[in-house]
């Protein structure tokens, strides 16, 4: 079942913050976050496995709620390089060979 991402698109001024959400109707095994620039490969950002988990590096972080049905990606003090389409990829059970089901994406544009 495809996760739902919101918002579909967002425009930021450089330095502003953004939150991207990824929701499922049932508990997930894991959430993977990727960023994809036009015509390029999706680039891995992070994986979350545990309910209540939060992790991050630099100014990009993410959380996974206790029920493991929602994950949020937090972009702080955005930079021009953050522009792209963000996807969450989910696994709904272990042992599936890491097959991911991706959301429809959130287009992020950072402007000067």
């Amino acid at each position: 079942q495809q996760p739902v991402q919101s918002p579909q698109a967002v425009i930021l001024r450089e330095g502003e913050d953004a939150v991207i959400n990824c929701s499922s109707s049932k508990a997930l095994y894991s959430v993977h976050w990727y960023r994809q620039k036009h015509g390029e490969a999706p680039v891995f950002l992070m994986i979350l496995l545990k309910g209540g988990e939060q992790k991050g590096h630099d100014k990009i972080s993410a959380s996974f709620n206790e029920k493991k049905q929602q994950s949020s990606l937090y972009l702080t003090a955005s930079q021009l390089s953050y522009s792209g389409t963000y996807f969450c990829g989910t696994e709904d059970h272990a042992g599936g060979g890491n097959k991911l089901t991706f959301g429809t994406g959130t287009q992020l544009k950072v402007e000067l």
């Binding site: 495809q2 894991s30 993977h32 990727y34 015509g39 390029e40 490969a41 999706p42 680039v43 891995f44 994986i47 496995l49 996807f87 990829g89 599936g96 060979g97 890491n98 097959k99 991911l100 089901t101 991706f102 959301g103 429809t104 994406g105």
Partner: protein, 116 residues
């Protein structure tokens, strides 16, 4: 180090032609995945290999789609008698399977297929 590479990067085919898309995974990566990405959409799973074994092909849309990885390294996705609805970007990803750990999938740049 070298990442996942795919060839060709662009392919234009006439409806009815057969095409073959190649994926070179990261050296030593055991798992290999194929995804199809339509314009403006997220990638959709097609098939998965662990070494040379195709463990899941549930996402292949029809029997015109066939994938192989005969020596457990390079993989080829073949589409027979292409149709216009096959137009999409075909992404390959590989991961290093580590027992008991969650594995990151590293994606290639994709092959953009246009069927006229």
């Amino acid at each position: 180090g070298a990442g996942v590479s795919q060839s060709p990067r662009y392919k234009v085919a006439k409806r009815g032609q057969d095409v073959a898309l190649r994926c070179d995974p990261i050296s030593g990566h055991v798992s290999l995945f194929w995804y199809q990405q339509a314009l403006g959409q997220g990638p959709e799973f097609l098939t998965y290999f662990q070494n040379e074994a195709q463990l899941d092909k549930s996402g292949l849309p029809s029997d015109r789609f066939f994938a192989e990885r005969p020596e457990g390294s390079v993989s080829t996705l073949k589409i027979q008698r292409t149709q216009q609805e096959d137009s999409a970007v075909y992404l390959c990803a590989s991961s290093l399977v580590v027992v008991g750990a969650q594995e990151t999938q590293y994606f290639g740049p994709g092959t953009r297929l246009l069927v006229l």
